[in-house]
C-alpha cells in the first residue's frame, strides 16, 4: 500500500501501476525463461550446426580427398570462410594425414591438429571443436576437423537487447490498452467520487451517482444512492419535526394567551363594577373557565414532557369500565351541551373489570370524546360505544364531523399533529391529545386506530385494551351517571404557608358553604386542628418547621382528628411524594392548582 504513495493518489494511476507492474513481472519472467533456455540450448544448437557443417564439408570434399585433389579441397574449405562463426577447418585423409587446411587467421591455424587424433582437443573459450569422419558407401575416405566460434556472449547480448526492446514495446502497448480499458473500471468509481464531492461541497443530497455497471461498483453506487435517499428522508423528517415544533410553540403561545384576554376583561369588570352581583358572578365563571382551560393546557404540556422523556407511568389498579366511562362522559358534558351534540352511549350491561390507570384511561376517552364533539357540526351526532370482544375491551368513538384525509390517518397520532391546519380552525389545544392517548393505550398493552371515509365524512377512533381474566364477573346495571354532590356543611382546616393560595382556597370552600379555618404553618395548624376538630384538612406539604407529611401523621395519631379526611395539596407531583403521602395518612393527594370540581368530589365523600 505504501508503494502507491509514490505512484499517485488517483484510482486511475493506481490501476495503471497495477497493470504495468503485472505486465512487467510477466514479461520479466518470460524473458528470463527465454534467456535461460537460450543459454542452456545454444551450445547444443551450435554444436549440431557445426556438425552439420562438418558433414556437408566432408561430403563435398570426399572425392577431393579420395582422389588427392588439394585444389578442389581448398575450394571446398573456402566456402566456409564466408560464415561469420568460421574459425578454422582441416581435411584429413583416411590414414590421419592432414590434407588441406584453412583458417580465419594465423593464430587460429594452430588450433588444427597436424594429424587426426582419436581424442578431441579441449575447446578454447567460446570455441567449438567438431570432427567428422567421411565415409562413402562404407568406405572411410578421411576426416573433417572444424573449429567454430560459439558466440555465446554476443548471442546472449543480442537476446537481452531484443528482450528489452520487446518489453518496452509490450509495456507501452499495455499502458495504452490499460488507459483505454480501465475506463470501464475507474469510470463508475470516478462517477461515484464526483457525486460524493458534489454532496460534500454543496450539501446537496439530491445528487445521485449514475449506476452504469452491474458489478461491485454498481452495487456500491446503489448503496451510495440509498444512503443519500435515507439522508434525504431523514433531513426531510427533521425539517418536518422542526416545523411541527415551531408550529407547536406558536400554538402553545396562542393557546396560553387566549384565556388571558377574557380573564383581564373579567378583572376589569370586577374593578369597575364591584357592586354588580350578576356581573361579578359572570366574571368569576369566565375566569374559572379560562383558568381551567389553562390548567388543562399546562397539564397537557407536562404530559408531553413525560411522553418525550419516557416518564409517563401508569398507576394500574382494578377499576370498572363503567366508572371510567362515566368520568369521561361527565368531563365532556359541558361542551356537549354547549354545542348541542346528540351523544349516544352504549356500555356493557354487566360490570367490566379493568386493570388500568383510571385517571389516564379517563383521559383517553375524554380526549376522543372531546375531539369528536369539537370536530362535529353543532347539533351533530356522536356515538360512544364500549363492548367486550374476545377478551378485549373495544371502545369506539364515532362522529359525523370534518373527518380525516386518508394520508393523515396515521400521522394524526404524531406529537403536535393538528387535524385542521387553517388559521380559522375552531379547535383548540396543543395537538398532543391523540399522541398522549396512543401512548397511554400502548402502555396498557392495547392499540388505538383511526378510521375515516375521508374529509367531511366523519371519523371513528377505536381503542382496544386486553382485559384481565374474569373481567366480566357479574351482570349488573349501569351505574347512574350523576352522583350526589358534597353540599353538606363541613368543618374544614386549611394549612399552607402560601397565604394567597390558602386564602383563595378558603374562600372557595366557604363559597361552597363550609366552615373554614386557615393557618399558615405546621405547628399552628396542629394546635388549631386539635381544637377545631375539622372533618377535612387541606395540608400543604412543603412548609417550614412541621411539614405536611409529619403534620398528617400527628393528626392521624391524635384521637380528635384521626377520622378526618386528610388532603395533601402540593406543587410537587412526583410519584414518590404521592406514595409518601399515603404512608403519612393522606386520603387524597392534590396538585396545585386545584379545580373546584375536584374539591366537590372530595368533599362529597368520593374516594378515588
Amino acid at each position: 500500500v505504501r508503494l502507491f504513495d509514490f505512484i499517485g493518489r488517483s484510482v486511475r494511476s493506481k490501476t495503471m501501476a497495477v497493470v504495468l507492474a503485472t505486465a512487467f513481472a510477466a514479461l520479466l519472467v518470460n524473458a528470463l525463461a527465454l534467456l535461460a533456455y537460450e543459454f542452456l540450448t545454444y551450445r547444443a544448437v551450435k554444436l549440431d550446426e557445426a556438425r552439420a557443417q562438418a558433414e556437408i564439408l566432408g561430403r563435398a570434399a570426399a572425392p577431393a580427398i579420395a582422389f588427392n585433389d588439394p585444389k578442389d579441397a581448398d575450394a571446398s574449405l573456402a566456402t566456409l570462410k564466408a560464415r561469420a562463426d568460421f574459425v578454422a577447418a582441416a581435411l584429413y585423409v583416411a590414414d590421419g594425414r592432414r590434407f588441406a587446411a584453412s583458417a580465419r587467421d594465423a593464430e587460429s591455424q594452430e588450433l588444427l591438429p597436424a594429424r587426426m587424433e582419436s581424442e578431441m582437443r579441449a575447446p578454447g573459450a567460446d570455441l567449438l571443436h567438431v570432427s567428422y569422419e567421411i565415409v562413402e558407401r562404407g568406405q572411410r575416405i578421411g576426416w573433417v576437423y572444424l573449429v567454430t566460434q560459439l558466440g555465446l556472449r554476443a548471442r546472449i547480448g543480442a537476446y537481452v537487447a531484443i528482450l528489452v526492446a520487446v518489453m518496452a514495446l509490450a509495456l507501452g502497448a499495455a499502458a495504452a490498452l490499460s488507459a483505454r480499458l480501465q475506463r470501464a473500471v475507474t469510470g463508475p468509481i470516478l462517477a461515484i467520487d464526483a457525486a460524493a464531492r458534489r454532496v460534500v461541497e454543496r450539501a446537496d443530497f439530491s445528487v445521485r451517482a449514475a449506476r452504469t455497471t452491474d458489478d461491485e461498483i454498481g452495487v456500491l453506487a446503489e448503496a451510495f444512492n440509498r444512503m443519500l435517499d435515507e439522508v434525504q428522508v431523514r433531513q426531510e423528517q427533521l425539517r418536518l419535526a422542526d416545523r411541527r415544533k415551531d408550529e407547536f410553540l406558536a400554538t402553545l403561545a396562542h393557546e396560553l394567551r387566549n384565556p388571558l384576554a377574557p380573564i383581564r376583561n373579567a378583572l376589569y369588570m370586577m374593578k369597575i363594577a364591584p357592586g354588580d352581583a350578576e356581573g361579578l358572578a359572570n366574571a368569576r365563571l369566565m375566569i374559572e373557565r379560562q383558568v381551567r382551560q389553562m390548567v388543562h393546557l399546562v397539564d397537557d404540556l407536562l404530559d408531553v414532557s413525560r411522553i418525550t422523556t419516557g416518564k409517563l407511568i401508569l398507576k394500574r389498579e382494578r377499576v370498572e369500565l363503567q366508572s371510567v366511562a362515566r368520568n369521561a362522559l361527565e368531563g365532556v358534558q359541558p361542551i356537549v351541551q354547549e354545542r348541542g351534540i346528540d351523544l349516544s352511549v352504549a356500555l356493557p350491561k354487566g360490570a367490566v373489570s379493568l386493570y388500568a390507570d383510571p385517571t389516564r384511561l379517563t383521559q383517553v376517552f375524554l380526549n376522543l370524546l372531546n375531539n369528536a364533539v369539537k370536530f362535529s357540526e353543532p347539533r351533530g351526532k356522536v356515538w360512544f360505544r364500549c363492548a367486550v370482544e374476545e377478551g378485549e375491551l373495544v371502545a369506539a368513538v364515532r362522529d359525523e364531523g370534518i373527518g380525516i384525509a386518508p394520508a393523515q390517518l396515521e400521522s394524526i397520532f404524531g406529537m403536535f399533529a393538528q387535524a385542521d391546519q387553517s388559521l380559522e380552525r375552531r379547535s383548540s389545544g396543543l395537538g398532543v391529545g391523540l399522541a398522549l392517548a396512543r401512548r397511554i393505550v400502548e402502555l396498557h398493552g392495547g392499540t388505538i386506530s383511526a378510521r375515516s371515509e375521508g374529509l367531511g365524512r366523519g371519523a371513528e377512533f377505536v381503542v382496544r385494551i386486553p382485559l384481565p381474566p374474569g373481567a366480566v364477573a357479574e351482570p349488573g346495571v349501569i351505574a347512574p351517571v350523576s352522583r350526589p354532590r358534597g353540599e353538606t356543611r363541613q368543618r374544614i382546616l386549611v394549612v399552607d404557608d402560601n397565604k394567597d393560595f390558602a386564602l383563595s382556597l378558603a374562600s372557595m370552600l366557604r363559597a361552597m358553604r363550609n366552615e373554614v379555618r386557615v393557618e399558615y404553618d405546621g405547628a399552628a395548624g396542629l394546635s388549631a386542628a386539635l381544637e377545631f376538630r375539622p372533618d377535612v384538612a387541606f395540608l400543604d406539604i412543603g412548609m417550614p418547621g412541621l411539614n405536611g407529611f409529619e403534620l398528617a401523621r400527628r393528626l392521624r395519631a391524635a384521637p380528635q382528628t384521626s377520622a378526618a379526611l386528610l388532603v395533601a395539596v402540593t406543587g410537587y407531583g412526583q410519584p414518590a411524594d404521592h406514595l409518601r403521602g399515603r404512608e403519612s395518612g393522606f386520603d387524597h393527594y392534590l396538585i396545585k392548582p386545584i379545580e373546584a370540581e375536584r374539591l366537590q368530589e372530595i368533599l362529597g365523600g368520593q374516594h378515588a
Binding site: A62, P63, A64, A66, F67, N68, G138, Q139, I141
Partner: protein, 178 residues
Amino acid sequence: LLLRALWAVIFGGFALLASPAAGQQPQEAEVKAAFLYKFPAFVEWPAPARPDSPFIIALYGATEIAEDLARFAQGRDVQGHPIQVRILKEGEPPAGAQMVFVGRESARLVSIARSLAGTPVLIVSEAPGALEQGSMINLVVSDGRVRFEVAPQTAERNGLRISSRLLAVAQSVRSPKL
C-alpha cells in the same frame, strides 16, 4: 614467444628427419590401385541379385596395380559385398565382374567394351583416348600426379550412375562419340 620459436625449431627438425619416410612419393601403381579401390564409392550400380554376392573387380594386365589393389581390398567390402580382385588373361571374359580395369598393356579395350555393352560393368582404363574406345573412367598422369577423366554418358548407357561429386574432381568430363 621465444619458447614457441624454440619449439618450432625442434619440431621442424623432427619433421625434416621424418620426411624421407612420410614424404616419399607413393608409386604410380599404388595411387592407381587406391583410385580403383575408391571409385565404387562414387558410382551407383543397379541392385545386385543376391545380397551376399561378392563385388568383383577384374583386371586385364596391370599386375602391379592388381597386387596393390588386392592388398587394399583385403577384407574390405563395397556396401556389404566383399571385394574380390581377379586378374584375367587376354580374351578371358569378365564373368560376374562389376568393375573391369583394362591395363595399359592390353590392346583389347574396344572389344571388351563392346562385349560389355548394356551390362552394368564400370570400365576403367589408363590409355590416352580410351574414353573414345568405350572406357568410362580413364586414368591419366599430369604434372606427375595421377588424375582421371570421366565419360558419364557412356556409364549411363550401361546402367551406371557416376556421382557428380566425382565429376567435380575429374580432370575432364567428356561425352565421346562411339
